[in-house]
């Protein structure tokens, strides 16, 4: 589904990602772990088009994407969330979601002038879809709230909701569990598993090892910008190289 091939990215002589390669299988939940500064978020930024790699290739669903701008990658169905929720504060939750709807004729201003009924039709469809997503994530009662007024946990869910509006084939989740209380964590885990059952692929950066061990089919470990190890979560946890990288010493 997603293939990272020898990707390298330098920032002023510091190699944030160093010839990193791995594959993510379709309809899997893959965890991307590693110590702070290992290059995980940089890699996410490359995969989602916000950064261009200096060398190497990224392939998604049979297509090379490392030269595409972020909006084109999102439209292909590779959708990311942000580590710290980036809600559109002055807009309602409902419109945070409706924004994402694809192929809206109303995004051309003259269509609103000359074909208002078509725009209205699509707008109603987008709204219905947004309400369905809010229902799924149990956020319906906040639909008309300004997103800036949501709690931290609700903003986390809003990130997920906005992603769902894009019809993702694959989700890149940057720390979905960070700063989330245990009961919300269970809900988020439940949503991820439910979506995977429906065929969505997940790659998630996560520091919470319980979450990783619970839901990931496979774990990829990064250290110093490169792929260190990968495999079954339990096996990886026992791997002495991983323990060394994470803990800074053999126990």
């Amino acid at each position: 589904m997603l293939s990272v091939r020898q990707v390298t990215k330098e920032f002023g002589g510091i190699r944030a990602v160093d010839a990193c390669s791995f594959e993510v299988e379709r309809a899997s939940i893959t965890g991307l772990i590693g110590p702070n500064g290992a290059g995980k978020t940089t890699l996410f930024n490359i995969m989602s088009g916000f950064l261009r790699p200096d060398r190497g290739e990224v392939w998604f669903d049979g297509q090379r994407i490392d030269h595409l701008p972020p909006h084109r990658i999102a439209r292909l169905g590779l959708v990311r969330t942000f580590q710290i929720p980036r809600e559109l504060k002055a807009m309602t939750v409902l419109e945070n979601l409706m924004l994402v709807a694809r192929d809206q004729r109303g995004e051309r201003i003259w269509n609103s002038w000359f074909f208002p009924s078509k725009v209205r039709e699509e707008e109603e469809a987008a709204r219905a879809k947004a309400e369905e997503v809010l229902e799924f994530l149990d956020l319906s009662r906040h639909a008309h709230e300004l997103a800036g007024n949501l709690s931290v946990g609700q903003k986390k869910l809003l990130e997920l909701a906005r992603g769902l509006m894009a019809d993702p084939k694959m989700f890149l989740l940057d720390e979905p569990g960070a700063g989330v209380n245990p009961s919300l964590m269970r809900r988020i885990t439940g949503y991820i598993e439910e979506l995977r059952r429906r065929g969505t692929t997940f790659l998630l950066i996560e520091h919470d090892m319980d979450l990783v061990m619970n839901i990931c089919d496979k774990v990829i470990v990064m250290n110093q910008g490169t792929h260190l190890a990968e495999g079954d979560p339990e096996v990886v946890r026992q791997n002495p190289v991983v323990v060394e990288a994470y803990m800074g010493g053999t126990p």
Partner: protein, 326 residues
């Protein structure tokens, strides 16, 4: 002052404020909805005014043209020329950080003013362009200004309805999302550059229209009329006072601030003669104080933004009761 005098002053006032309201609507597309920091409004206004003037004045040996075309042609061309300038500024700057647009717009606005000031062959230079026609002025006699006011109001109303429809739509929603967080807009599949360019150009077109309306109203334009203080700064105050991000606010703010600005002129007339020379600066200080007061006590302006961008949500039964915020 006679009744006629008061009435004719009011007509003058309402026409000028209406022209400023058009500028304010233009800035609302760029800043209110899209967060584009255009501090070169005077430049777009000037390009519109001069384009219209050159195209509609009768042939003259001292400057380019005139071409003696109908006012309608001048009006449309003013929008097109100003929109083209916006396009040329936008292409190199809108991919960069926001501050670059601000630098480019103020730089180009001043450049435009100096070009009109120094290139006498183009538009009369410092002496300006006179005799910009309003076709029915002679036939209408004393009621000409009433008719012109009606024309300005009609154009302002048409622009208001077109922009309400165009902005309170998915297009406007994308603009606002970019204003709030361009990374989210991009991650949501929206081409940020394209939308910013459209917003800058449409705003530029509207400002060009305002320039044309101004030129045909006063009949004479010169570079001094396009000083950043009198156009750029005051339009920013108008939009801020009325409510950035709200078309109604843009219009009400223009009328209100123009009223205050005009009243300060009366007030400064009563100042002792020693102070009178400083009166012009005092008026600017007053407007500045007004801006600071609004930003401190009512940062959303008089109107604030509508809760939902889309008119369709605001009107529908489930959203209706929540649709308006204070």
């Amino acid at each position: 002052m006679t009744v006629e005098g008061v009435l004719s002053y009011l007509v003058f006032f309402a026409t000028m404020a209406g022209i400023y309201a058009v500028l304010s609507l233009g800035l609302n597309i760029q800043w209110g909805y899209n967060g584009l920091f255009n501090i070169g409004i005077a430049g777009f206004f000037a390009v519109g005014a001069y384009t219209s003037a050159i195209l509609t004045t009768p042939p003259s040996p001292t400057h380019l043209g005139g071409f003696g075309l109908p006012m309608m042609v001048g009006f449309l061309a003013a929008g097109a020329a100003s929109g083209l300038i916006a396009l040329l500024i936008g292409i190199p700057t809108l991919r960069l950080r926001e501050d670059y647009l601000a630098i480019a717009t103020i730089g180009i606005a001043e450049t435009i003013r100096y070009i009109f000031q120094n290139e006498a062959w183009l538009a009369g230079g410092i002496r300006g362009l006179a005799g910009i026609p309003f076709p029915w002025r002679r036939a209408l006699g004393p009621s000409a200004n009433f008719v012109y006011l009606a024309l300005v109001i009609a154009i302002l109303a048409a622009l208001y309805f077109a922009l309400e429809r165009g902005l309170r739509s998915p297009w406007g929603r994308v603009l606002k999302a970019i204003r709030e967080d361009e990374y989210v807009a991009a991650a949501s599949g929206k081409d940020v550059f394209r939308f910013r360019l459209e917003s800058l150009v449409l705003g530029g077109i509207v400002m060009g229209f305002a320039g044309s309306l101004y030129a045909h109203f006063v009949g004479f334009i010169s570079p001094q009329a396009f000083h950043p203080m009198l156009t750029t700064f005051i339009v920013w105050v108008m939009l801020t006072v009325g409510g950035s991000g709200n078309n109604k606010g843009a219009i009400v703010g223009a009328y209100l601030v123009w009223a205050i600005w005009s009243m300060t002129e009366f007030v400064t007339d009563f100042l002792p003669s020693a102070m009178a020379t400083r009166a012009a600066s005092l008026r600017v200080v007053l407007i500045g104080v007004l801006l600071i007061a609004v930003l401190m006590y009512r940062p959303t302006g008089l109107f604030g933004e509508e809760r939902h961008v889309s008119r369709l949500i605001a009107r529908s039964p489930t959203g209706g009761s929540h649709a308006r915020s204070g």
